[in-house]
């Protein structure tokens, strides 16, 4: 699969969009990109949010014209993206940046368990224990990478896990 057709979301950074009529800024914790964004948006209608519940409440009354900015760990950013897209926000209307942990959510294709915080190319499934290849196929609906048994093709063939 070439990079041009990857399903993995591209995080373009927290760039302020001056055409937006409202700005929802979702930050996992205090971080530099969020502080810089908030200073750029000074004077504009901005809400600073930290949890899924807060984001859902704000999205329930939001109108087209809003932009959602999300900054935090990979897992936080992906979970908030799900929340925003369920409310009807398109990826064009989101700006994302990852700071901190890049640990991934990986869904085991065999038992469907999602293992969180995966940071190596091969990791054991928390459900069935199978050693999974963390494949670069990402589900936007589940906010998870696809994982399949490393020796599915050649039983016993297990390369070394490397950091992602």
């Amino acid at each position: 699969m070439s990079a041009a057709h990857t399903s993995v979301p591209r995080d373009g950074g927290l760039l302020a969009d001056p055409s937006a009529t409202a700005h929802l800024v979702v930050a996992e914790a205090d971080n530099e990109p969020t502080r810089r964004l908030l200073s750029e948006l000074l004077g504009a209608p901005v809400e600073l949010l930290h949890t899924e519940g807060e984001l859902n409440r704000s999205l329930a009354t939001a109108s087209v014209g809003v932009r959602v900015y999300i900054c935090g760990s990979e897992q936080f950013v992906r979970m908030m993206m799900i929340c925003a897209s369920r409310a009807g926000v398109t990826e064009e209307e989101m700006r994302t940046e990852i700071v901190g942990s890049r640990g991934r959510r990986v869904m085991c294709l065999h038992c469907k368990t999602i293992t969180e915080g995966v940071s190596t190319t091969i990791a054991d499934c928390e459900g069935c224990g199978a050693p999974l290849v963390v494949y670069h196929h990402f589900s936007r609906r589940l906010a998870a990478y696809m994982g399949y048994r490393v020796d599915a093709e050649v039983p016993g063939d297990r390369p070394e896990a490397e950091p992602l």
Partner: protein
């Protein structure tokens, strides 16, 4: 699938001083069902012959007949003038099968429809389909004068309070409403669809962009492409070296068809991409909305239904020639 349909003009109804509705009924083969927003291309026996595309302004669920609405365009190429001045009931016409470049957005949670003048025509089929499907929508319909409101009663029946009419000689009432409320208070997941004169669509899409609407939420139906001057030029078949003269009145596609080439086509408006042709040499004058800027820049592709060449001949890769 280039087979055309034979239809008879079974009714002509003068809806307004400048707009005529034409009812078309099948001869032989029943009329194909269509989806909201579809149009048909009508072969007009004018001299020179024209093919004009008109939206199907009727219910998609029961196509016992088709209805088109045609505005008398005095400055146009002559197709609408012929329909207004020459066409009579009982006449048999040839039309292409329905084709849709402006379908409703099925994933939209709410559809905001904005029509200017004769641009109401695709939204007539929308209003039938969306009200039948109990979809969430609203229709804003702006006209220049109170006697230019075709389909008003039918739309009121279908839309009720979802219909908003603006009698708006200079377009300012519509734009004010859009900026003050309509474009600023739409729930997330709304899609905007616009059909009307070019300047009106530019104003609406411009206002939407300023108010934070991303391009993916905004859809337009252009019924005229930017024109530009039409001068004669020559196309050359790169295999046979045959020279095909294209007159100022012809499109490149028409000239190739007249020369016997079996060209694929659908919309003949530079939108669908069916007639895409490879250019071996020469400089295309692109007038379509299909090719990407990169494809245009490459100089190796052309949409012969609308695009032309300036001076030097265009050397083309062409399909089989019957002649």
């Amino acid at each position: 699938m280039n087979a055309t349909l034979q239809v008879e003009v079974t009714a002509i109804d003068q809806l307004t001083p400048t707009i005529r509705a034409i009812e078309l009924t099948a001869i032989g083969e029943p009329l194909p069902a269509f989806s909201a927003g579809s149009h048909v291309t009508v072969h007009l026996p004018t001299d020179p012959a024209h093919r004009n595309a008109y939206s199907l302004a009727c219910s998609p669920s029961d196509p016992g007949s088709y209805r088109l609405a045609v505005r008398h365009d005095v400055a146009g190429a002559g197709g609408s003038r012929w329909i207004h001045e020459q066409l009579a009931e009982g006449r048999v016409l040839r039309i292409e099968r329905p084709c849709n470049f402006f379908a409703p957005i099925r994933t939209a949670r709410h559809q905001l429809l904005i029509a200017g003048g004769i641009g109401i025509t695709p939204f007539v089929s929308y209003a039938h389909q969306l009200s039948r499907d109990a979809a969430s929508f609203e229709l804003h319909y702006a006209v220049r004068a109170a006697d230019e409101l075709p389909f008003l009663d039918e739309l009121l029946d279908l839309c009720g309070e979802r219909l908003h009419v603006y009698v708006d000689p200079d377009g300012s009432a519509l734009m004010k409403a859009l900026r003050d409320t309509v474009l600023t208070g739409q729930p997330l997941g709304t899609h905007l669809s616009v059909c009307g004169p070019g300047a009106m669509m530019d104003a609406v899409t411009g206002a939407a962009a300023e108010l934070g609407w991303p391009a993916a939420r905004v859809h337009v139906e252009r019924f005229s492409l930017p024109g530009g001057e039409r001068t004669p030029f020559v196309a050359i078949d790169h295999l046979s070296h045959r020279r095909i003269a294209v007159t100022a009145e012809q499109t490149l596609l028409e000239a190739l068809e007249d020369a016997g080439y079996e060209m694929p086509y659908l919309c003949r408006q530079g939108i669908c991409g069916q007639c895409l042709t490879t250019v071996r040499a020469g400089a295309p004058d692109h007038r379509d909305v299909y090719l990407t800027p990169e494809e245009r820049g490459s100089g190796t592709l052309i949409m012969p239904c609308v695009s032309r060449a300036a001076a030097a001949p265009l050397v083309l890769e062409l399909p089989r020639c019957a002649a």
